[in-house]
Amino acid sequence: MDNIPPPAPDSVLLAFDRMARAKSRRPELSRYAYPIAIALLAALLAGLAYLIVNEDRELQRDALNRDVDTLVQSISLRLETMGEAATKIALNVADADYNERRFTSASRELMLQKQELMHMAFVDAERRVRWSVASPGPLGDTTRPPDSEIGGDALRAAIAHAQKSHSAFFSPPYEDVSGPAGGDNGSPFTDLVVPVFRDEVYLGAILARVSLPQLLRATVNLELARNYRISLIDDAGKVLATSTLSEAPPDAARYAVPIALLPDGLAIEASAFKQRSPLLGNALAWLVGGLSLVVMATLVALARRDVRQARVERVLRAETAFRRAMEDSLATGMEVIDREGVIRHVNPAFCQMTGWSASELVGRGPPFPYWPAGQHAAHHSQLAATLAGKAAPSGFELKVQRKDGTLFDARMYVSPLLADDGEQLGWMSAMADITEPKRISEQLALAHERFTTVLESLDAAVSVVAGPGGAELLFANRSYRDLYAADAAGHRRLQGALGTSTAGEVFDGETQRWLDVRTREVRWVDGRDVRLQIATDITERKATEDIVRQQQEKVQLTSRLMTMGEMASSLAHELNQPLTAISNYSLGTVSRIKDGGASVDDVLPALEKAAGQAQRAGNIIRRIREFVKRSEPRRRPTPAARVVEDSISFAEIEATKRGIAIRTQLPPNMPPLDVDPILIEQLLLNLLKNAVEAMEGAKVRVIDLVVRRVDDMAEFSVIDHGTGIPEAQRASLFQPFFSTKSEGMGMGLNICRSIVEFHHGRLTVEENPEGGSIFRFTLPLAREQAVNDNPPA
């Protein structure tokens, strides 16, 4: 598997997601409301529960207190009544006629009423039991043995106390396990001691043994026993009797109330057993709790839905924003039309391109505002085709009119707009402004045309070949095709002739032409390396070059004539030297002879030297002669055009430098001249140069060279528009050494005339009516039978 790097995180989508996240952040309220509400509710519930519990606890405590108070009251009442009854009996006992039987029955009666009484006894002043009555109740067979002495310090103290205080008195509690074996024999006990007095005389006391546990049992009803652990405790908190052996929970509510009647701080202590759950038992609490839970659950559900909603919203937003961004950033205009052709949607690019706003376009049916006026029919039919589903998939071009009236070219591509279920809702058009591309392609076409025109009109043969050995001809212009047809063979042949160089002059044997061939490796449009070759036909040029070369050789010979001025000048100088020497020697000799006394020996050397100088001069003359001989004129048939062209080509250099044009007029069917071409060229050149120089500062900067046939002569006219030649000078114009130029030697026109006269013609000058001069000369035409007549040297 190739190492395909993992796709980079989708930065675009992430960006939209981030923005959407920012936008669809749940409102602060929503984010916090739910938790707060739930929290509040929970707090409320907790508070409520707490309150309920608390109140219940309070109630319970109150109930406890109340119950204990009530119990203690009832116990106290009971003990009181017990005391009263006992006291009554005691009073009775004080009667003389009270006897044991009466005591027994009274006691039994009392003990029947008060089951906690175990037995009653009458003890005398010595604390001896006189009478003893057991309780008819279940535990009542405990008796004090008669005549036994009351033991126990506590009891004794109690009796003593009762005696002292003349009032009934309960003894401190004591144990006595000598009763019915096992279990609960009613211990601990307390004795009610009622002193018996008869007329202030202490007779003894009535003891009524009270079983504390029984007392409790008698007084503590079922309900109390169920709810509380009732205990009889002493000062130290020791439990003497209890309603139940079950312990109350350590944190149970307790309440103790002392029983005033009983001694030793005996008190009833009640501990509440685990309360019934105030909540669980409380229907209202259930209701409220249930409702609250429902509300909380609802809130939680809402909160979660909110979160889910927000996420969905965020994703949706991101998605939508992304798509919207894509649509908005499109450079292509988008337009949706429904099945009836009404515009339903346009994107910003469409509005921008057409200049119409969305509100101006959406909801409009045809004709649309961007249809150019006057083209509605065409647009209508295009729209009809589109609605019928016949729009070309490659799009169609149309002209669109902007709101400001300007037009532009557009291309539209239409595709059906399909809903999710495939139902077609309308048409989706994409519009692109092709003004620029159109213009470019037109320009390109034009450029191509220009290029092609240029290439095709080139005289040079342009060809491009590719492939090994130049097998494939990729391009050839007309010039090439004319020469070699549409075949790469010609190209190859020329290339072969070039060899390894990239440029050169090649003679093509097949076409018998000289070609200037240049080649170059270039990169073709498809990336290939191809060879471009440009071959220019230089056959004519070569021929011309040959002629020119020959001419130049001749010119070199004739240049001595051209520089005759300089030559003559140097000639003059050269001749002057020996001449001066001869003169000096001669004059010197004459002087010496005249002065007298010059001997032959004196003057001989000088004379000899003079002779030598004469020879020197003679040599110079000889050289001139030889030179002149070489340039002897040779006449032959010469086309007039040739001499005209050649002399002009030399004169033009100077003429163009001065901005002067040379116009020629030459009859087309001019027969050849019978002249020495070199001399005539020299003649023409001279006249032309004169003309150019005469036109220094002239306004009309044209020299006319007119040739025409006059009988059997050719008449040449060199017409300049210079200052002209004054009448006075015209006469001496052709004389040697006449020159109007500061540098002029004055030989030019003289020579010109000589040349013309050599050819049996005539050279004249006249005034140009338009200003300037006209130099006219005639030359003979060659006869039919062109014979080269060379005059003897």
């Binding site: 000048s569 003059a572 100088h573 002057n576 030297q577 020996p578 001449l579 001066t580 020497a581 001869i582 003169s583 000096n584 020697y585 004059l587 010197g588 000799t589 002087s591 010496r592 002065d595 006394g597 010059a598 004196d602 000088a606 030297k609 003079a610 030598g612 100088q613 020197r616 540098e743």
Partner: protein, 210 residues
């Protein structure tokens, strides 16, 4: 030909053409000039006598240093021979140039003997006068050099035609002092009259600028 003890003057001939030079020498010697010929400007510069009263006949066109260049060189050397140029044709602009530089005349080949003699004679006289003027100048300069700066100041004002009183005012000295200076000046310069004094000043090429 009789030899005079003193020839009429020295003529230098500088021309590269042997025949022309030799023949010219022949011609001039017939008029009794002492002629020295040089075949090039360089040879001439190496061989001429600066003290001689002489005329130089120079060919304008020569290989190497031309006649004109030779004239420049002579001016640079302060050798003030009068010069006769042998001209060819078309030398008019050149002629003007050489005249400006102080050359004296031209002559064309072939030479007119009488004209040549007259010219040489004239120029020799000029040469002699020139030499004499030089001598006078040197003498005057030497005399004037003896003056003190103050005396120069006074002399300057005397030459300007100022009266003694004016000179005294100009220089802030007394008339008596001026008169004393005058006496001294006359003495040093060996002039007896003011005219003598002026002559000396003029031939000394003027006074040095202050």
């Amino acid at each position: 030909m009789t030899d005079n003890a003193e020839s009429l003057g020295v003529v230098y001939v500088v021309d590269d053409d042997d025949a022309v030079r030799d023949s010219l020498q022949w011609l001039l010697e017939a008029s009794r000039y002492r002629v020295f010929g040089f075949e090039s400007a360089e040879k001439f510069l190496a061989g001429y006598d600066p003290a001689a009263i002489a005329v130089a006949i120079l060919d304008v066109r020569m290989p190497g240093m031309s006649g004109l260049e030779l004239q420049e060189e002579l001016i640079a050397r302060k050798a003030t021979f009068p010069i006769i140029f042998i001209t060819g044709h078309g030398d008019v602009p050149m002629a003007v140039n050489t005249m400006k530089k102080g050359a004296v005349d031209f002559i064309e080949k072939p030479f007119d003997q009488a004209a040549l003699k007259a010219l040489v004679d004239r120029l020799l006289v000029a040469a002699r006068e020139g030499a004499a003027a030089n001598e006078r100048q040197k003498l005057s300069e030497a005399l004037l050099a003896k003056l003190t700066p103050r005396e120069e100041q006074v002399l300057e004002r005397i030459a300007a035609g100022r009266l003694n009183k004016q000179i005294a005012d100009d220089l802030g000295i007394s008339i008596k002092t001026v008169e004393a200076h005058r006496a001294n000046i006359m003495d040093k310069v060996n002039a007896s009259t003011v005219a003598d004094l002026m002559r000396i000043v003029l031939s000394g090429g003027g006074l040095k600028p202050p």
